[in-house]
C-alpha cells in the first residue's frame, strides 16, 4: 500500500489582475508522505500560502496534476472538493478564523456537523476528545471573544483534528501569537505529529520550521530547497527528482 499522501506534478498557478499576470506557482512538483511534518518557508509573496491553498483544495491550479490519497483531485467539482476538505483535511489559520457567534464546542463541532456519517453522540465524543487534546475542554461553552489568542488557536487546532483528517494544513499558526503561546501551539503540533498526524505548515519563523521533519523553501513560486531536518545534507532538487523519491 502506497505511503504517498499528496503528489503534485507540474502544478502552476497564475493570478490575473487588470491584465497583469502573476505567476504565483511555477511547475511545482512535490510529494508528501503519510506521517510527515513538512514546513514550507520563504519570503512574503513567494507563493507558500498559494501552495498550501492548492494542497488544501481551497483553490485550483491552472495546470498540472494533484493527487490526494492516489486520487486525481485536479478537476473535481466544488462539491467534491468540499467533501474532501471536510473528511481528509484539517486547517489551522494564522487568524484562527473561529466563528464568533458559536461557542468553543460549536466551533469544534462545525466540520463534523457537515458530515452525514456521524451520529450526534459520535460527534460529541470527537469534539470532547479533541478539546481534551488541546486542553480546552473546560472552556467548551465560552465564546471565542472570551478567550486569549493562544486559547483561540488551541480551539482552532481542536477543530482541525476533530474529524481525524489525513493531513493538517497550518498557515502561519503562530503568526498572531506571543512567544509563550506560540511555543504551546508548536508543542501541540509536535505532539500531533508524534501521534502519526501528517502536518504541512507554512511559516516565516525559522525556529518553527526547524521543528518539522522536512523543510521546503520557496522563492518566486518555485521550490528552491527541500531538506530533511534529521539529515545534514541539503538537496537542491528539481520536481522530477522529488517525484522519483
Amino acid at each position: 500500500m502506497s505511503n504517498i499522501l499528496i503528489r503534485l506534478n507540474d502544478v502552476n498557478k497564475v493570478f490575473y489582475t487588470d491584465e497583469v499576470e502573476t505567476h504565483a506557482l511555477s511547475n511545482i512538483s512535490l510529494v508528501i508522505n503519510k506521517g510527515e511534518y513538512v514546513s514550507i518557508s520563504g519570503p512574503s509573496g513567494c507563493g507558500k500560502s498559494t501552495l498550501l491553498n492548492l494542497i488544501g483544495l481551497l483553490d485550483t491550479s491552472n495546470s498540472g496534476i494533484y493527487q490526494l490519497l492516489a486520487h486525481d483531485v485536479s478537476g473535481i467539482s466544488k462539491k467534491e472538493r468540499a467533501r474532501i476538505r471536510n473528511k481528509d483535511i484539517g486547517f489551522i489559520f494564522q487568524s484562527f478564523n473561529l466563528i464568533s457567534d458559536l461557542t468553543v464546542e460549536e466551533n469544534v463541532n462545525l466540520p463534523l456537523s457537515y458530515r452525514k456519517d456521524l451520529t450526534k453522540n459520535e460527534r460529541e465524543q470527537f469534539v470532547l476528545s479533541s478539546l481534551k487534546k488541546v486542553n480546552m475542554e473546560h472552556r467548551a461553552n465560552h465564546f471565542p471573544s472570551q478567550l486569549s489568542g493562544g486559547q483561540q488557536q488551541r480551539v482552532a487546532i481542536a477543530r482541525a483534528i476533530a474529524g481525524n483528517p489525513s493531513i493538517i494544513l497550518a498557515d502561519e499558526p503562530t503568526g498572531n501569537l506571543d512567544s509563550e503561546n506560540a511555543e504551546t501551539i508548536m508543542t501541540l503540533l509536535d505532539l500531533l505529529h508524534k501521534e502519526g498526524t501528517t502536518i504541512c505548515m507554512v511559516t516565516h519563523d525559522p525556529r518553527s520550521a526547524k521543528r518539522a521533519t522536512r523543510s521546503i523553501d520557496i522563492l518566486d513560486g518555485q521550490i528552491i530547497a527541500d531538506k530533511n531536518n534529521n539529515q545534514t545534507n541539503l538537496n537542491h532538487i528539481n520536481t522530477h527528482q522529488t517525484d522519483a523519491a
Binding site: D59, K78, R85, Q94, S95, N97, L110, G175
Partner: protein
Amino acid sequence: MMYSTVLQDISYAMRLLAKKPSFTILTTLVMAAGIGLSVFMFSFLNTILFKDLPFTDGGSLVIFSGSENGYHNQNRLNSHDYFEIKKQLQGVSEFSLYYDTAVNVAGNDGARRYKAILIAPNFFELTRTPPILGREFSDAENQPGTEAITLISFDLWKNIYAGDKNIIGKLILINGVNHEIIGVMPQGYAFPDSADLWLPIKQHPTQLTRGQAEPIYGLAHLDEGTSIEDVNRQLDLIMQRIEQNYPQTNHGIGAYITSIPWANVQDGDVIIYTMLIVALLVFILASINVGNLLLSRAVERRKETAIRVALGAPRSRLISQMLWESIIICSLGGLIGLLVMAWGLQVTQKITATFFTDPLPFWWEFGLDNFTLSLFFLFVICSIVVTGLLPAWKNSAEDFNGVLRDGTRGATSKKSGRINKLLVMSEIFISMTVLISAVSLTVASYIERNINIGADTDNTIVAKVILSDTDYPTKASRVLFAKTLTSRLENSSNIGDVMISKKLPGFRADTALFEIEGKEYTQKNNEQYPKANNISTTIGSLKKLGVKLHHGRYFNSSDEGLEKYTAVITQSFAERHFGTQSSLGRRFRLISENGKPQDWLTIVGVVAHTAQGDDIYAKIPSVFRPYSQVPKGTISIAMRVQTDNSATIRQLRATLKSIDAQLPAYRIETYNQGIERMAAPLKFVSSLTLLCGLAAVILAGSGIYGVMSNTINQRTQEIGVKQALGADEDLIIKEFMTTGLKQLLWGGFPGVFAGCFLGFAILQLFNNGLSILIIITLSIIMFIGSIVMIATYLPTKRALKMEPSEALHYE
C-alpha cells in the same frame, strides 16, 4: 483652531462624498424621499386637523354632533336634545348653535347659490371675531317674525358689492326674500367651515315640538382642565336618559363633541393615526437605509480609521469626521425634500379644492408654515443622529490594533452581526406594518368607491336646484315646476331622459322613521321603528335611472296627486321588514314626533337596493315617494347627454332661465364626477398612504437587500472558513437562507401584528371582512418574504463564487 478643524472635517467629508457620486446621490435621494414624504404627511394632517383655528381660543372650541348606533357620523342633533344637554353638561361653557343650508342669492346677472349658516346671536362671540363692518345681531332680532337680516362674508362683499364701504343697510335677495345686510365678516373668516352668509336661526325649541324644530349642531368652549373624553362620557349618560324618554325615536341616537377640524373625520381617526404612523415609519425606514449605507462605508474605512487612531486622532475627531458626511447628506436630502414638499403642498391645495363644491374649510391653507418648518428641522436633526451617530460611534470604538494587525478578526464580530440583524428585522417590521396598513386602506377605499349604487350613472349630467318657500310656496307650484322642467329639457335636442329626485342614487339622503301596519312598536317588545332613506322622485325617474324593478310596478300617472299615498320600496327594505312575505299592497307610514298621525302609504313596487351615500349609509334601505305627492324644495336633476356635456349644461341653464330667471342650478357635474367627489377625500388620503407604502416598498426592498448584502459581505470570510471546513455551497446557502428566514420571522411577526391591528381597524371602519385582511396580509408576507429570500440568496451566491482561499482573505 476649532474653526479650521471643523472646516477641515467638512472639506474631508465633501471630498469623500464627491469621490463616490452614485453613493452620494442615492443616499441624498433616499433622505429626500424619507424627510419630504413624512413631513408632508404631518404638515397636511396638521393643517386640516390639529392646528388651532385662527382666532382667540380657537383651540378650545368644540362642536356637538349626533351619532347613531355608536357611529360618529356627524349628524345634526335634535334641538330639544341639545337644550337638554346644555342644561346638564359640565365642563363646557358659552353654548351656541347653528345649522347650514344652501340658499339662492339674486344678483344683477341672475341668481347664485351660496352657503348660509343659520346661527344663534352669540355665534360670533364664540370665535372672538366681530364683523369688520356693521354689527352682530341681538336676541330680539332672532325672534320669529322679526325683520330679515344677514351678515355677509368678506369674499361675498368683495365679489358682489365690490367692497362697497356703505354696504350696511343695503338689501340682499336671499331665497326670494329681501334681507338687510347688517355686517361684513373679516377676510378669511368662514366659520364654521366655508360660510358665505350668516342668518339668525329664529327658532327656539320651547316654541316648537320635537318634530318641528330644525336639527342643529351645537358649539361651546371646553373649560380648562376638561378633556373631550370627559365631556363625551357625560354626553353618553345624558343621551341614554333622553333615549329612555323617547325610546322609539332616539334608539341608538347619541351625541359627541370634537374640535371643529376633527368633526369631518367622523370615525376616521384610525385612518389619520395610521397615516401618521406610516409617515413616521417611512422616515425611520429612510434613516435606517442611509444609516446602513454609511455603516457599511464606515466598515470599509476601518483600516483608514485605524491608521488615524494610531497617529493619535482623538475619538471625538473621528466621530466628527464621520458625522459630517451624515450632516451633508441629510441636510442636502432634507432640502430637496423640502422643495418637493412645498410644491406638493401647493398641489394639495388645488387637489383638495376638488373635494367639495363649496370652498375649502377656511383653515385649510397648505404651505411651509411654522409647524412644517420646525418639524422639518427636527426630522433633519433626527436623521443626522440616526444615520450618522451609529456608524461614527461604532467605527471609532473598534479594536484598531486588531484591524492594523489584519488578523484576529477571526470572523465577523458579534456586535456588528447583531447590529445588522437588528437593522434587517427593523426593516422587515416597518415594511410589513406600513404595507399591510397602506394596502388595507387602499383596498377599503377602492371597495368603497366601487360599490354598486343601483343606477346607471354613465353619460349623465346632474345638477341641483333650490325652490324657495317664497317663490314656490305651494306644493302644486313645485310639482308644476318639476313637470315643466322635465318636459322642456326632454324636448330639447341636447338632452335625452330627465330624472328629478330629492336625492339621486349614490348621494346621501335624509332618513326617516316609519311604522309598518300591523306591527306594534312598544318599549315592551323592544321593536324599533324602521329607518329608511325618504326620497321623493318624479314619475318615470326610477325606470329612467336604471333602478331595476323586482316586483309590482314603478310609479305611473295613477300615483299623481297630492292626495295619493303610494310608495316604492327597495328590496333591502322589503327583506328587512317583510321577510319572505310579499310586500306589495302592504302599508306603512312616517313617524311624526309631534304625535300627529300620518297617512298610510301603500307599497306598489319593489326595486333593487340603491346605495344612498357611502360607508354605512350605503346599506340603509330606501322608500321612494312620487314627487307629485311630496314635492320637496331642494331637487336633484339628472339628464342623459344626447350631444355633449357642455351643450347639456347650456340647455339646462337656458331652460331654467326660461322658467324662472332667478333660479340658479348648482353642483353641475357629471353623475360619475359627483359620485367620485364624495369619495375624493378618502381616495386622496388612501393615495397618500399608498404613496408612502410604495416608498416603503422601494426603501424596504433596497434597504433589506442593502443590509443583507452588507451583512453577507461582512461574513464572506466566515463563508470561506466554513468552506475550508468542508461545507459545500448548498449547505451554506441553506444556512444563510435559514438565517434570513429567522430574521423574516423575528421582524415579520411583530410587523404583521402591528399592520393587521391597523389594517383591521381600517377595514372594520368600512365594514369589510376579515377575509380581505387575510388575503392582504398573506400577499404582503409573500412579497416581503420574497424580498428577504432574494436579498439573502443573491449576495450569498455571489460570495460563493469566490474560491475559499479568496473568501478567507476577503476584506
